[in-house]
């Protein structure tokens, strides 16, 4: 039984609960490939799902070590699936190290498939085990299936005469075959994919397909009580149109391509590699148009070049993670001072300093809002889901151009890598992104006159006749933009820069609660990647008869209109954040509302179960 949907009968939840499957093995074992194929077959089975890869921090750690373990988790079901799941119903462990590090992710009573081929003295030692967990009672509470996968794979492929090493490499497909059998999935999609992928080496295709089938056939020999629950169909109620499996990073890349397409102007993407932001650079570098990528010598050069591109009339975009965001601080201030559009993407990871590069955290929020010298406000956005990663790029570009301001977009290591089945957007229904028109007044051009409504200054690129002008980071006079140390002017410009950003909120729809409870005993306030966990927790608690409302902020600065009143409508308000309470402290300051925080800073996304118990605790506490 999944603990992400404790009572499947309540409040319209599906009769068949969602399931969580986790694959774990050595980085060289092909775990991510098996996981991705399983996700594709899940899409074919019309279930809703979400996946999350859990890479090791090391490039290619020695085989069998604890820090070389790679994992992949998927949750799928008939109801909308919002997270990759807390703990797994089924765990597949390819070696002792994978078993040790992943057992905590398996529900008690869950199904555990173990390849026991490396549970010898050497394998146990590498995993720092003194005794063999297959024998010492560690696994007593689970439904254990052990198979010597290596041996079985070799047997199955014996007739192909491949040699031990290449044959062993097919073991992930053997396991996938077994898992497919377990969930009643057909083999054809994976088979077709193998055939086309190894077109040039048909013997490899053959070997992998043989292994897949052998694993599947092996399943028939097993007797196991849980199988009917596993294989029950979970057909999603939401019908999706044309779709593809997409991660947050891929969605962002496509969103940037959309900005170029809708604006009919190449964007200039300048970045320096850093985990977990690099995947975005990699995705963009493959596009053949729309985005001009530039791998700079460092993050300062990256943002500087992006700002130069914006000055020259293209939208400059730069991305990094925490250490890089810190380095971009000074140049962001320049962007604010010269009032040019710019997108700064921060894929957050565990901090401070180098911290935990592959782990998600939401601890760059106050830095994004306040982390520049001088009075230097800018809009800050955060996408909530992989899907939203696409849309937020378009929105951020519009805001940057309309406001003539750098905009920060905060995502994180979880959202960048989490993937789900994405319904392709209807591109034709999305309005153009307009580059502002330049009209010559005949008089000397004044680069710092402001649009009375947005307070934005005009954006005029070099090459435009009769508009040559000069901008810079020294304080400048309203209107002419000439250097000015005049006290009253500085006061006025400081105010204009703040108001301009604040006015972004006027153009946004007022804040709304998420689906579900529209009033209640507590308001849970989230932002960014925690959307799925909080929504799921709220849903499950409400199904239990609790009264939990959820608001999820996509706009962190300026805060959306109506939030103050919304918060004050509830007897309790609590943020749920993967930091020590950064949004919480901002809300308290802005609204003087006694908001508290459910905080977690352990490099992991929220478990729905933990959130539920934390929210329940708050509900039980008296209203302050």
């Amino acid at each position: 039984m999944s603990d992400t949907a404790t009572d499947p009968d309540a409040a319209g939840a599906a009769k068949v609960p969602p399931l969580v499957v986790r694959f774990a093995g050595d980085s060289g074992d092909g775990i991510q490939l098996a996981g991705y194929e399983f996700a594709k077959s899940t899409a074919d089975a019309k279930s809703d799902f979400m996946t999350f890869p859990d890479f090791p921090a090391e490039i290619r750690a020695p085989i069998g070590t604890l820090f070389g373990v790679s994992a992949f988790q998927i949750q799928f079901g008939a109801d909308e699936v919002l997270t990759p799941g807390d703990r797994a119903d089924v765990l597949v462990a390819f070696n002792p190290a994978a078993l040790v590090t992943n057992l905590q992710n398996l529900k008690s009573g869950g199904v555990l498939i173990v390849d026991d081929s490396s549970f010898d003295a050497r394998g146990l030692k590498k995993a720092k085990l003194e005794t063999n967990p297959l024998e010492d009672g560690t696994l007593d509470g689970f439904q254990l299936i052990t198979v010597d996968v290596v041996k079985r794979t070799l047997e199955a492929l014996d007739h192909l005469g491949l040699g031990r090493k290449p044959a062993t490499r097919a073991k992930n497909l053997w396991v996938l075959g077994l898992v497919y059998w377990m969930f009643g999935r057909p083999l054809d999609t994976t088979q077709d994919w193998l055939t086309s992928k190894f077109k040039k080496t048909p013997e490899v295709a053959q070997a992998n397909i043989t292994a897949l089938k052998a694993g599947h056939a092996y399943g028939e020999t097993l007797e196991f009580s849980a199988f009917p629950t596993l294989s029950a169909p979970r057909i999603a109620k939401r019908h999706k149109g044309k779709s593809r499996i997409i991660s947050g990073a891929q969605a962002m890349a496509l969103g940037l391509a959309a900005v170029a397409a809708l604006g009919k102007r190449d964007i200039v993407y300048c970045s320096y590699p850093i985990t977990p932001a690099s995947t975005l650079l990699h995705a963009l570098a493959r596009f053949e148009g729309g985005v001009r990528t530039f791998q700079a010598e460092d993050e300062i050069a990256a943002i500087s070049a992006a700002l130069g591109a914006s000055f020259a009339g293209s939208l400059g975009v730069t991305a990094s993670s925490g250490p890089g965001l810190s380095l971009k601080t000074e140049a962001m201030g320049l962007g604010i001072s010269v009032e040019l559009p710019l997108l700064v993407i921060d894929v957050q990871r565990g901090g401070p300093s180098t911290g935990m590069p592959t782990k998600p955290e939401q601890s760059d929020l106050t830095m994004a809002i306040h982390g520049r010298h001088g009075e230097a406000p800018l809009p800050v956005l955060a996408p909530a889901t992989p899907d939203d990663c696409f849309w937020i790029m378009i929105e951020a570009a519009r805001i940057a151009i309309e406001t003539m301001s750098p905009v920060i977009i905060l995502t994180d290591a979880y959202l960048a890598n989490a993937a789900s089945d994405w319904e392709l957007p209807d591109v034709d229904s999305v309005p153009d992104i307009d580059w502002p028109a330049v009209t010559s007044s005949g008089e000397e051009f004044q680069p710092f006159t402001r649009d009375p409504e947005t307070l934005a200054r005009p954006w005029v690129a070099p090459g435009t006749p009769q508009h040559a002008h000069r901008i810079g980071g020294i304080e400048k006079a309203q209107g002419s933009g000439h250097i000015s140390y005049d006290p009253a002017n500085h006061q006025e410009m400081t105010k204009a820069r703040a108001e301009k950003v604040s006015k972004v909120a006027d153009r946004l729809p007022p804040v709304e609660l998420e689906d579900g409870a529209q009033d209640g005993d507590i308001l849970v306030i989230g932002w960014g990647s925690t959307h799925g966990s909080i929504a799921q927790a709220a849903k499950e608690l409400n199904a239990q008869g609790k009264r939990v409302a959820h608001v999820h902020l996509r706009h962190l600065w300026p805060l959306p209109r109506g939030l103050d009143e919304l918060i004050k409508r509830f007897p309790r308000a609590v943020t749920a954040e993967l930091n020590t309470g950064q949004l919480c402290s901002i809300l308290r300051s802005e609204y003087l509302a006694p908001v508290t925080c459910i905080s977690q800073v352990n490099g992991q996304p929220f478990h729905v179960s933990d959130l539920k118990s934390e929210i329940t605790k708050r509900l039980e506490a008296p209203v302050s």
Binding site: R244, L254, A257, A260, A261, L262, K264, R265, D266, V268, C270, F287, G289, G290, F294, E297, D298, I300, A301, A302, S304, A305, A306, L307, G308, A309, S310, F311, A312, G313, S314, G316, A331, G333, L334, V338, L424, V427, W435, A437, V438, T439, S440, V460, A461, P462, G463, T464, P465, Q466, H467, A468, H469, R470, I471, G472, G473, I474, H482, I483
Partner: protein, 331 residues
């Protein structure tokens, strides 16, 4: 920029390139002379101010863009080369100049200088070297000679300075030249050569800071003595110097270094070194010539034709080949 006014194709004079801003350099600063030469050069180049961009960091030198009627971006300290690279990526058709002092280009901005040079981005990089931090009131800089007394080195500096020409060659620059602020018959020619080069053109301009480092370049930019203290390089020509053209340089074939000779001591001028601006090893040897003892080489020290960065990427204009159809295909 949907409604673009029609480009004005009239010829521009040097004066047309002046801006209306009050010049805030100290009276007598070498920067004035460079500004003057630049205006002449811009008029000669024949592009409208609308297509020209000056990007600068921070420093006295970096105020340069304010005093020209072109597009200008006064950025932050040290980052001008990186900003300018972005300008070029967005719109390769622009004519982009980068101006900075020795602090801007060689201290905080050294890395961006290095990478702009090795990538061979089509920028004209003008280093105004006054061997001091002018704007921050006179601290020694990475080009200050050992022994420089300054507010941060009251007892005299002890650091080996960086030689900008040697550095640029080490960085893989394809165009390296040197000039001096006051030599108005020489400087414009060097700037024009730099402009003509497609790729990163690095020009060190020796510039006198009257207030904090007066006379740092001794006779070099003193017009009356300059010919004794400098050798003006011309590709394919023998290296002769002196007001009377009475001295020359020969190349020592054993050590690979240059030596000064009196022309009157020579049997034939054929032994004089001939300047070959395409020879890197010779250019590196020229970079080592310093006062006293040697004339300081001015002019184009090294020039090699090589692939330009933005062109090699295949970018042009600002418009996108990309539209809704391409987006749909991608999705």
């Amino acid at each position: 920029m949907n409604e673009m006014p029609v480009k004005d194709v009239k010829a521009f004079t040097a004066n047309d390139f002046g801006s209306d801003q009050e010049v805030r350099w100290c009276p007598g600063c070498g920067d004035y002379a460079i500004l003057k030469a630049m205006k002449t050069v811009l008029a000669d180049i024949g592009r409208t101010p609308d297509d020209i961009v000056f990007v600068a960091g921070i420093g006295c030198a970096a105020r340069f863009p304010y005093y020209l009627s072109t597009y200008g971006f006064h950025t932050i300290h040290g980052r001008a080369a990186a900003v300018a690279t972005g300008v070029k990526l967005a719109n390769p058709e622009l004519d982009v100049w980068v101006v900075g002092g020795d602090g801007d280009f060689m201290s905080i901005g050294g890395n961006h200088t290095l990478h702009a040079l090795r990538r061979n981005v089509d920028l004209n990089l003008l280093l105004f070297n006054n061997a001091i931090y002018g704007l921050t009131k006179g601290q020694y800089s990475p080009t200050s000679p050992v022994g420089t007394r300054s507010p941060s080195t009251p007892g005299g500096s002890i650091e080996q300075p960086v030689n900008p020409v040697r550095f640029a060659l080490g960085a893989g620059a394809k165009f390296v030249a040197r000039a001096a602020d006051t030599l108005q018959t020489h400087l414009p020619g060097v700037l024009k050569r730099a402009h003509a080069n497609k790729g990163a053109s690095f020009v060190e301009i020796l510039q006198n800071c009257l207030v904090y480092n007066d006379g740092a370049f001794g006779a070099i930019n003193d017009r009356s003595q300059s010919h004794e203290a400098t050798v003006r390089l011309e590709h394919g020509q023998p290296m002769v110097f002196g007001k009377e053209e009475d001295k020359g340089l020969v190349f020592d074939k054993e050590t690979g270094a240059f030596e000064v000779v009196n022309l009157s001591d020579l049997a034939s001028k054929d032994v004089l070194a001939i300047h070959d601006e395409t020879n890197l090893v010779r250019a590196q040897a020229l970079a080592e010539l310093e006062q006293p003892g040697f004339p300081v080489p001015l002019g184009v020290i090294y020039a090699e034709i090589a692939a330009e960065f933005v062109e090699a990427r295949g970018f042009s204009g600002t418009k996108s080949k990309w539209g809704r159809d391409e987006l749909k295909a991608l999705l």
